[in-house]
Symmetry: C2
Subunit: 401 residues, 2 copies
């Protein structure tokens, strides 16, 4: 019987990211029952910390018992009833997933599509809203689209949603605690994320937050939510004041999540955003020096994931496989129409360090040299070093995973 | 900021049960990516071990990324399309939950109800099937109904399902690896469980297994499954041969689950069933000696959970609260119509030990004495001791949580 001894990876894909030893330690805390009064206190703490991370005062701010995609499904199926109209801003795999869920909910769909690698144009959203005045119940957008590396500016879309009387739903799976995001300032009605990206907890939880207005919509539905498991009117009764049993909470994961949130708040949200911005700037400078072209233009690049086109003639899978076997570094390839054509290099949470930036640039250059594409002479690393030197040094993290 | 230091509980409710140190240790294994080739090998091992525990050769035998209720929802929404007819055997909270999900799926429902605390009568099921010949798509039943302590005999119901051409769906949340269950011998089409009961893994995963026939039904649907997250035609592509990305697997929980399955198989399924039967017999003897009356009759009692009526005049909540604060023992109260009227004492997985049986009987007697109901004189413990003495000693576990 093979023992459970996986290699120690440096996780630089689109999540999961590397996990702090304190979070692993929290996982070994002996479990208590999900209705134990001592667990209720832990839940209170998780909710309070999660509000700080989302920058919200929303009462309903909780981790849903599933991965980020469960958060997406919760976002859509709790608001949409058959025949309702949803406007989805698309331009990548995860926005397409939203469209799929909208259709499964029996709702009608307006798609406002950007070319993959570009942000959605608010003018097009506005035009679409004008064609269905007052009819759009929900406007949803992916903040950081990991399939393309695009960071969608949220403010103009939030304004349009408010003007149209639509709920504003934001997928922050790959950005929460890595890119500036203020749920209350942006008047987001429903925001969801995943535990395993910039929060650096293992995968398995989907933190969500729900505005009072959104909560009213859920509680005044004509029909039941199609998912019993994700029905927030019931989930909320467990996490809220009533503490009524719904389903058994994933205790150990909640322990880990609590510790991960503590780590985020100890660093400070702004410091964490700044760390991601600084390291990503250095990574992008290095990748450019290696001749790799970023898919999204400079104005809309995620600070948590770089998406660069695989050079012509390079064997995508071979390079990624060598990165993994020789350096234990995981990066990701392209999804959907970019399969085989894109490298996606994540700098999320604990994985977002200067060490990892320098290392992945050196390793990539070595392997591209072996494929005869460029000559290994430290160009990527040098460019990153210049980028770091050009920035204020305070707070730079030397942490390695 | 309160630190994460919950008390160490002896978990004798209806789950979660106490977790072995090896499982906690597995949780601290550094995570790899969900598409890492090394993780794929771990998935292979989990699937193989889970097949042994379910006693099945079913290809699709996997842990769903959610708690047991997600397994229930997966069972129903993958098979049922709007207008389909489902027959649910009811008699407790969890069967009622099934009915709720059937209705959310837009399916039609036939309920065959037993009085709470009694098993469903196969003759009534047969009569109901005859009223809708050939029309019932799915017949579902809870094997161990933790809200009442009833163990439903499966064989007659499985035969009726087969004769009617209906899929046979079994909720084994509270019985898998604790009570005899052989998925293939019973020709169960879909069986689901929870990680945190007799498998003694933390909560967060719902192991499921799906017959080839059931898989065909899922793959030949006219409409999409209403849940994207639980759509088994897609989840299966990740766990099956294709290994196509669907959602990020909860890596750490899968590690823990793998170790929990190893522990089950090291003990051996039959030995584990026998341990549960032996300890439950002793617990029931002890409870009876304390004057506590079992809700279900002797013929249909679960070997993993005892359900006894709270004595007249006893303050249910006070006793359970004292058990927790003085002895760190968690047992559960009644649900639904038995709120305040029932004690539910679980002996599941690692929590199912002779030590725990003796301890809970002694503690309960002490507290009932303090409430003036009985005199503390070791009667419960004595009855349990006699029960143990009357049984073969081999394999008795002295393990404490």
């Amino acid at each position: 019987m093979m023992t459970l001894e996986p290699p120690q990876r440096i996780l630089m894909g689109p999540g999961p990211s590397n996990v702090d030893y304190r979070v692993y330690r929290a996982l070994t805390t002996p479990i208590v029952g999900h209705m134990d009064p001592e667990f209720m206190k832990i839940m209170d703490g998780v909710e309070a910390r999660l509000r700080s991370v989302f920058r919200t005062a929303n009462a309903v701010t909780i981790p849903v018992s599933g991965t980020g995609s469960a958060g997406m499904e919760a976002a859509l199926v709790n608001f949409l009833e058959p025949g309702d109209l949803a406007l989805i801003c698309t331009g990548g795999v995860f926005a397409d997933r939203m469209c799929d869920i909208v259709e499964r909910a029996g709702a009608r769909l307006i798609k406002v599509a950007a070319e993959w690698g570009r942000a959605v144009d608010p003018d097009e959203v506005q035009a679409a809203l004008r064609e269905a005045p007052g009819a759009v119940k929900l406007l949803a957008v992916v903040h950081g689209e990991t399939s393309t590396g695009v960071l969608q500016p949220l403010e103009p879309l939030g304004r349009l949603a408010r003007e149209a009387g639509a709920l504003f739903v934001v997928d922050a799976v790959a950005t929460l605690a890595g890119a500036p995001l203020d749920v209350d300032a942006l008047a987001i009605d429903f925001c969801y994320s995943g535990s395993q990206k910039c929060l650096s907890c293992p995968p398995g939880l989907a933190p969500i937050t729900l505005s009072a207005r959104a909560n009213e919509v859920v509680c005044s539905r004509r029909t039941k939510v199609q998912s019993w498991y994700l029905d927030l009117s019931m989930v909320e009764k467990y996490w809220g004041r009533e503490r009524t049993y719904h389903h058994t909470a994933p205790i150990s994961m909640i322990y880990a999540f609590d510790e991960a949130l503590r780590l985020v708040l100890e660093e400070g949200l702004e410091a964490r955003w700044e760390r991601h911005a600084r390291n990503m700037a250095a990574l992008l400078a290095g990748l450019e020096a290696l001749g790799l072209q970023s898919l999204p233009p400079a104005s809309v690049r995620m600070p948590t994931l770089a998406a660069v086109l695989t050079p012509q003639g390079v064997d995508d899978a071979a390079i990624r496989s060598r990165l993994l076997s020789r350096y234990n570094i995981e990066i990701a390839g392209g999804l959907g129409k970019f399969r085989g054509k894109l490298w996606r290099i994540g700098l999320m949470g604990n994985s977002c360090t200067e060490c990892n930036v320098l290392l992945v640039l050196a390793a990539l250059e070595t392997l591209l040299d072996e494929q005869g594409v460029i000559k290994a002479e430290g160009k990527g690393v040098a460019a990153a070093q210049r980028a770091y030197a050009a920035k204020p040094q305070a707070g730079r993290s030397a942490q390695t995973p």
